[in-house]
Symmetry: C2
Subunit: 231 residues, 2 copies
């Protein structure tokens, strides 16, 4: 998945490259499926196929975690799940706050897969009186003015911005003031934040552009159909 | 004036790496902002800052398109916009169909930025009678049974799957049967498609996992706060 770009170089002392970190949850999902099928071990080829990546990339990614495979046997499914989960910080649950209870905020609130990945939507905030008090997947929408109280109540470090673009910078400023240190930004705006705060931006149109690029090349005879690019 | 030359020729025959393709729309957005500010030229450093990537990566990305910079002057904003837009297939509009008119499909239908990037949501389909006939950002939700007619009517090659996970494979099968060759999958499911079809999968929880990974390392003293990773 190439929704995000990072300018950070891969350096061992600074941890695993973000592109690898982004694939680890995919491997976890594939391992969960193998476990559900009663498998206790798997080869890198099987795991790569289940995850939809090529085996060389899988082996390189897993090499960052240490070497848990055994030649001729493959990976122990339970052991590998444990190590990947630990690496991803899933030994603890991360409470996050979503700002913006429109369609996107609602979709994110109800998003399946957060739970199993150690992410809990602790609160959803909005400024619209018509949305405040409504229920989103079991979480009541609270006034944006409650932000500081919510961050303190849940000890929140990570926030999701799902507001219109013109509101996003103001929201980011308030998040930083409240003590949030990581922001996932879905709004069409580049956020200015202090260096102590991490921002990642998701642009939902980028993946469509990548597909359009390949369709265009295909239409002009430059390339054959791609293989599946999952994850 | 010396045209900037790169040591690496553009791989016209093989296309541009997907990671670069995914950054091109970001550069286009930054160029549009510079143009709106009345700028006719910009340095690679300025463009990199506006796009939130490091200058070396920007220069490498643009080298795949050929060399449009002039030493001491930088890039001609209008010329670079034209070339990037052409590379991305924006000289034509891509009609796409969205399957699933829930919160996520609704958010995508209303997503700003598609228009300016040559992507037009031509149709939204759903199986839920309560959703069929409703209006999403000016597009009427049509029955999923209309899929073949819609694909033919608009000449659609690209589809977005925004259904629950359990419905996604059936939808993908129908899309392939109707002639769709590129699928953007938001559903929590790995889709099986023929080799002639391209699938890209978006997992909205992955970015939160990457943030959690860094928060965890920060909490344990392994890393300082990251710089902003803007898109």
């Amino acid at each position: 998945m190439t929704l995000l770009r990072t300018s950070r170089p891969a350096r061992a002392d600074r941890g695993i490259p973000d592109a690898t970190v982004a694939r680890l949850p995919v491997y976890l999902g594939a391992l969960a499926e193998l476990a559900a099928d009663g498998r206790s071990t798997c080869s890198s080829g099987e795991l790569a196929e289940a995850a939809g990546v090529n085996p060389a990339k899988l082996r390189k990614d897993l090499s960052y975690l240490g070497s848990y495979g055994t030649r001729g046997v493959g990976y122990d499914v339970a052991v590998l799940r444990h190590h990947i989960g630990r690496e991803l910080g899933q030994t603890q649950t991360w409470d996050v706050v979503i700002v913006g209870a429109g369609h996107l905020g609602s979709a994110l609130s109800a998003y399946h897969g957060f739970d199993s990945r150690g992410i809990n939507v602790a609160a959803v905030l909005d400024t619209d009186p018509a949305r405040i008090g409504t229920d989103l997947a079991g979480v009541e929408v609270r006034p944006f003015a409650d932000l500081e109280a919510v961050v303190e109540e849940f000890g929140i470090a990570i926030a999701v911005v799902a507001t219109p673009g013109e509101a996003a910078q103001g929201v980011a400023d308030a998040l930083v003031a409240a003590g949030v240190t990581s922001i996932l930004n879905f709004a069409p705006a580049v956020l200015q934040v202090p260096e102590t705060v991490t921002v990642r931006k998701v642009d939902l149109s980028i993946e469509l552009q990548v597909l359009a690029y390949h369709e265009q090349r295909r239409a002009s005879g430059h390339e054959a159909a791609d293989e599946e690019v999952a994850g």
